[in-house]
């Protein structure tokens, strides 16, 4: 850790903080259909989309209808993506003539992109045609991200509205988020990335003859357009197999900085949007601060761990799997950001991180992706923790708990517990299964405790819709494809449905005015308690298995043991 590392981290958090209120305000205007910088061009497009699709944007939906729309829309996106992959070899824009993937890989991938997970059991340049990547993956990158934001908007309306039963219109939320938020930012980011060297074309791979007269295939394709949205939409599915470590995805430190910023930008800005919507910007900043504290805590530990030499490998620094242009600091920063958010893109191989350096991304994911988290998903996940914290705090101060003036009662606690604990349960059960069946352990790339970490990381990542991996795990097997697909689906919708149900219930409640007996939910004490609840509820159940994975590996590494 040197001064420049510190400066880069400060620049990163500073830029994030500075852009948050600005973008937060923009998202608010976009979500409400208000005018903004580009609305002159985009509003006609929006109206055209409504007309073509037959959507009545002002039609209010109850939570059940909203949830149903979410499920149908994502379900259909999933099917379309599946069909697209299975027919890939017969479809155009496939200059390398790639065959269609196996059905289970295609299913896993379709689920993965439709749930904003973007777990990749394949290597993009060797498996998927340009058509599949653009018409399938890029589209789902937009739509699964917009779904997350829409669900957050619905939840927020549920918290704010009084004595009503409706949460807004899913179609309108989806279209506005896609059109006014993701598209303009993606175009901007994509063009800047191309200027740094990210490829963007529809040409077949280039054939080169190297200086040592070897034949080298240089893969090309429409990468920048997909990378921009995969970062902004916390998707993370790379155009190339090694994701943002690949020089064509992330060629320079500046592209790296912008891509990292894009990971957390919208999740962070949504905190500000949330503050606007609930009528108290402090509420938004309070949640932002909690997320930032959790982020910095993880970052600090990971930075420290990665800067320690590895005694098991003769005291070498931890450079395996890291790119020279990024170094340790940017690799760790990226890893912390991408797992805090449910992005899952990587610019260094998490599998090769030091045990504790790898523990931090793993724990970030296990907490349920709430350290900024996925676009929309992070904040609605965090709000479930807020509900639980409000409940605990309410008990501690001797008053029926209230959040934003609304009583938190048994139904809310039940739904929040489901949303928080369902992913925990899925991860534990699926990882335990993989740890004992040969189909699970057969895919491991590392022996010893690190293998257990690979399994745990895989199911944590899929269930919590992150998508990054301890990439050594050979995931393109029927077992991992199918169990993983189930995990991703459950992990996505076992959270979204309770969240929307909670929103529906909250919308119909009355608001009690605050008094001095009401606990402030934007004060320092509440924030500390929230941090505690996230860590305790999110991580306590994983402590034993983490002990058997990264913790014991760390202790063994200090003894110089290898496996």
């Amino acid at each position: 850790m040197n001064a420049r590392d510190g400066l880069q981290l400060a620049m990163y958090t500073g830029a994030l903080m500075a852009l948050t209120p600005w973008l937060g305000g923009h998202i608010l205007r976009a979500a409400n259909g208000e005018r903004h910088l580009l609305s002159r061009f985009l509003l006609p497009v929006e109206r055209l989309i409504y007309r073509t699709a037959g959507v009545a944007p002002d039609e209010e939906m109850r939570w059940t209808q909203y949830a149903l729309s979410v499920v149908w829309f994502n379900g259909m996106g999933l099917v379309l993506l599946l069909v697209l992959q299975m027919l890939q070899e017969y479809l155009p824009l496939n200059p390398q003539g790639l065959p269609s993937p196996s059905w289970h890989l295609a299913l896993n991938t379709a689920v993965s992109f439709a749930t904003n997970t973007n777990w990749q059991a394949y290597s993009g340049e060797a498996t998927m045609s340009y058509l599949t990547q653009s018409l399938g993956f890029t589209v789902q990158n937009f739509l699964s991200a917009a779904t997350g934001v829409a669900v957050l908007l619905a939840l927020t309306r549920g918290l704010v509205r009084r004595s009503t039963r409706t949460l807004g219109n899913f179609w309108a939320d989806l279209v506005r988020t896609t059109l006014h938020l993701f598209l303009p930012l993606s175009v901007l980011l994509a063009v800047v990335l191309v200027s740094q060297g990210v490829v963007q074309n529809l040409s077949p791979s280039a054939e080169a003859t190297t200086l040592e007269h070897a034949h080298q295939v240089i893969p090309l394709g429409p990468a920048a357009s997909q990378i921009a949205i995969k970062q902004l939409g916390t998707n993370g599915g790379g155009f190339f197999g090694t994701n943002s470590a690949h020089p064509f995805e992330n060629p320079t430190p500046l592209s790296n900085f912008l891509e990292m910023l894009a990971i957390l930008l919208i999740p962070s800005a949504l905190c500000s949007t949330y503050g606007h919507m609930v009528g108290s910007r402090r509420q938004g900043w309070a949640i932002w601060t909690v997320m930032m504290l959790l982020f910095l805590a993880g970052l600090g530990l990971a930075l420290w761990a990665e800067h320690q030499p590895n005694p098991a490998l003769g005291g070498l620094p931890n450079l395996e799997g890291k790119e020279t242009r990024f170094g340790i600091a940017n690799s760790v920063l990226w890893a912390t950001a991408t797992t805090g958010a449910s992005n899952g893109s990587v610019n260094a191989m998490h599998d090769s991180f030091s045990p504790l350096g790898g523990l931090v991304p793993l724990v970030n994911i296990l907490l349920g992706e709430v350290v900024f988290g996925g676009v929309g998903a992070g904040l609605y996940g965090m709000l479930m923790f807020v509900v639980l914290t409000v409940f605990m705090a309410g008990l501690l101060v001797g008053r029926t708990p209230e959040y934003l003036g609304k009583k938190v009662e048994a139904r809310e606690v039940r739904l929040a517990m489901i949303a928080v604990l369902a992913p925990c349960a899925i991860v534990l059960v699926s990882a335990a299964a993989a740890a004992v069946v040969p189909a699970g352990t057969g895919s491991l790339n590392n022996a010893g405790p690190h293998g257990l970490s690979e399994i745990l990381y895989a199911f944590a990542s899929m269930t919590n819709n992150n998508g990054s991996a301890f990439g050594g795990l050979h995931a393109a097997t029927p077992f991992y494809d199918l169990v993983g697909a189930l995990c991703m689906l459950l992990g996505r919708f076992a959270v979204i449905v309770p969240v929307l149900a909670l929103a529906g219930g909250m919308a119909s409640k009355k608001v009690s005015p605050a008094s001095t007996g009401t606990l402030r939910t934007d004060g320092g004490l509440f924030m500390i308690l929230l941090v505690g609840v996230v860590i305790i509820v999110g991580a306590l159940t994983f402590l034993p298995v983490l002990t058997l994975g990264p913790v014991i590996e760390h202790l063994l590494m200090l003894q110089g043991r290898v496996f």
Binding site: A393, L428, A435, G517, I536, T541
Partner: protein, 696 residues
């Protein structure tokens, strides 16, 4: 009613012990998922130990651990039984009051003797001295003194009379003097006494909303920990194989159950129902009867409090505050006359005039004793009282009168005197300031005005300040005019007031506050309070009040003390705080338990050879002696902490009227950090003890 039930009363402990055994029935435990899981674990371990015994293998550790698991369940049941036991003891004493006495029923003007249990609603009965009142009812004729100590514990008899707000009588109480005729108002088996008995016995205890919500939280945590623990064999299986010893001793069932029971929130799970029961118990011991636990909990959430002025904020009577003499007179002269006129006046107002004259002007009631003084009592006709002093030395008789301005004006003018304009102005001024003016006159001459003021109870301002710090707004309700009301409101420090309030106004105000999201509490005693009491979220009826009021409210204060509401609110808050504190404590405990059990379970993994412990023994921060003693210490700590916290559960966490943030900070510090640290110390001490005794 005020049964002194110390926690350590041997009788109670014994009864609770045997009741706790009956509660071990799984069908009883089913209601409480945390303890049900614990019991299930204990059963599984028992089977495992028994199975081992059958095949002839014997493990002292397994047996001890299993026993402590059973103790854990037993202690939780014991806590609940103990809380119930205190109620039961009180119920017994109440049941003694529910006599099988006969009632003297009046039918067609004829008296007949029937069993009290035969009485129907609407029957009319007669009670005379020494009769036990056979059922709840309303006095429709007569006045009597009644001994209500069986219910209130208060030995001083109270007056019950027909009409007005003191007409309700309670079955089981005893008439001491006089004769009253009572109309029975309650159905058989549903008398006030019956409801009280049900309440204290806790037989029909419904879980309160927050208790249900907390139950959901605990259920979720328990489910998560069940998964976390029972997936461990799979992960351990992998680790043992990866460490090169696939056949290393697998995790035994007993150890897994021990870990599970230590992790699930048994502390709060075990004490949850005891806390709820004891909340009601604490109310009862403050002589408040609640119709449901829900009402008690709602009391903790109250943020608007409607209070009647009279009797709550002010003393029931007014006091003389100043003498305002007529032009040409000194205050001294006025005071002297006023004192003379009031010497025989036994009302609190009259006495206060004497006292003020004595203290303010050093006048003593000296020549009062004059044998010829003739006191004129207050009558509805004259609306004045006073004294006639025969003139000595040929003076004419001094006829001193005091009374309302209009009455005195009539009196003075009938004597040929004038009512000076200055005095009339003073009268208006006093009224404007919220006081009551009394005019004093001697024969045809007006002497001046006595200012009577409502006296705000001592310490009431502090109580309202305390309420404000708790986040509760107080609204004073009075029939006074707005000026008077404002003056008293300012003096008492209430947040708001309603002047010239009619019962309809009260009801409307409550609805209005509720519509704005407030939870409203009020006290009342009269029949016309009944709708408002029913509408309020917490309605506390005075026991001295009418039957209608007692039926409408969801609590009855047997002491009829309007400021009791403050205590009720505090008990409601205590109830929640205690649950929150123990939940926090319970969850915080898990950290230390992990540090005790995980190294013990996994210490052997990846060990190079049997002599050197595996790497995870580095996590044995407490340096516990052996894996067995570590696990046993954690389980014993987990069981004993339930016993140790029973007094806290029954007494409740002390409530401090600070802002929410300050309370949270305090409770987090004590129960969060305390919960983090306590088990480290406790488990280490137990480990030392176990090692000393050599039992593991």
């Amino acid at each position: 009613m005020r049964t002194p039930s110390s926690l350590l009363d041997p009788g109670l402990l014994k009864a609770a012990g045997s009741s706790a055994f009956r509660k071990l029935d799984p069908r009883v435990q089913w209601a409480n998922p945390v303890m049900f899981v614990t019991e299930l674990g204990a059963v599984l371990c028992t089977l495992a130990v028994a199975g081992n015994l059958l095949v002839g293998s014997w493990d002292g550790f397994d047996l001890q651990a299993t026993l402590w698991l059973w103790f854990t369940v037993f202690f939780a049941s014991f806590a609940e039984a103990l809380a119930e036991g205190r109620g039961k003891a009180q119920a017994e004493s109440l049941k003694r009051a529910r006599t099988q006495a006969t009632a003297r029923r009046l039918q067609n003007d004829r008296e007949e003797c029937v069993a009290a249990t035969e009485l129907q609603k609407g029957d009319v009965v007669v009670c005379e001295a020494e009769d036990i009142i056979p059922a709840d009812g309303e006095v429709i004729e007569g006045i009597a003194t009644v001994d209500e100590s069986a219910i209130t514990g208060e030995s001083a008899p109270v007056i019950r009379e027909s009409g007005g707000d003191r007409s309700a009588v309670t079955g089981g109480t005893r008439v001491i003097s006089d004769r009253i005729v009572i109309r029975v108002t309650s159905e058989k088996g549903n008398t006030f006494l019956d409801r009280m008995i049900t309440m204290v016995e806790g037989a029909q205890r419904q879980r309160t909303p927050n208790e249900i919500a907390l139950g959901q939280l605990l259920l979720g945590l328990t489910a998560a920990f069940v998964l976390a623990v029972f997936t461990l064999p799979a992960f351990t299986h992998y680790s043992a194989a990866a460490g090169g010893k696939p056949d290393a001793a697998p995790l035994s069932l007993v150890v897994l159950v021990c870990l599970l029971v230590c992790l699930i929130p048994t502390t709060i799970g075990g004490l949850l129902s005891a806390i709820g029961i004891s909340g009601i118990d604490r109310l009862i011991r403050r002589n408040v009867m609640a119709t449901s636990g829900r009402a008690v909990e709602a009391a903790g959430d109250i943020d608007v409090l409607l209070l009647d002025k009279t009797g709550t904020i002010t003393l029931g009577s007014r006091r003389a505050a100043a003498f305002l003499p007529a032009p040409g007179l000194t205050p001294n002269q006025l005071a002297d006359a006023a004192q003379l006129a009031s010497l025989a006046d036994a009302t609190p107002e009259g006495r206060s005039i004497v006292v003020l004259a004595k203290e303010g002007f050093n006048l003593r009631g000296r020549e009062v004793a004059a044998p010829h003084a003739k006191f004129v009592p207050f009558t509805a006709q004259t609306r004045m009282s006073g004294v006639d002093l025969p003139g000595s030395d040929g003076q004419p008789t001094r006829r001193i009168r005091k009374g309302a301005a209009s009455a005195v004006r009539t009196f003075v003018e009938s004597q040929g005197g004038q009512f000076p304009g200055e005095v009339a102005a003073a009268v208006d001024e006093v009224a404007r300031q919220g006081g009551t003016p009394l005019v004093v006159a001697e024969n045809g001459r007006v002497l001046g005005v006595i200012q009577l003021k409502d006296v705000v109870k001592g310490g009431i301002k502090e109580r309202f300040a305390r309420l404000r710090r708790m986040g509760i707004r107080t609204v004073m309700i009075t029939g006074d005019n707005p000026l008077t009301a404002a003056a008293i409101a300012a003096e008492a420090g209430v947040d708001d007031f309603m002047a010239q309030a009619t019962p309809e106004d009260k009801l409307a105000r409550i609805r209005d506050e509720q519509a704005r999201g407030h939870l409203v509490a009020m006290t009342g005693d009269g029949t016309n309070d009944a709708p408002a009491l029913a509408q309020a979220d917490v309605g506390v009826a005075m026991n001295t009040g009418t039957q209608a009021a007692r039926e409408a409210g969801n609590m009855v204060d047997l002491d009829s003390n309007p400021t009791k509401l403050i205590e009720i609110v505090e008990i409601g808050k205590q109830l929640l705080t205690t649950r929150g504190a123990l939940t926090t404590f319970s969850i915080a405990n898990d950290v230390a338990k992990y540090f005790a059990i995980l190294p013990a379970m996994f210490g052997g993994l990846y060990a190079v050879n049997a002599a050197r412990p595996g790497p995870l023994s580095a996590l044995n921060l407490m340096h516990l002696a052996t894996p067995q003693s570590a696990i046993l210490s954690a389980v014993i700590f987990n069981a004993l902490i339930i016993i140790a916290l029973i007094p806290l559960a029954l007494r409740g966490v002390r409530y401090r009227p600070l802002g929410a943030t300050a309370v949270l900070r305090r409770n987090l510090f004590v129960y969060g950090l305390g919960g983090l640290a306590a088990p480290f110390v406790g488990i280490k001490l137990l480990d030392l003890l176990i090692t000393c005794l050599g039992i593991a």
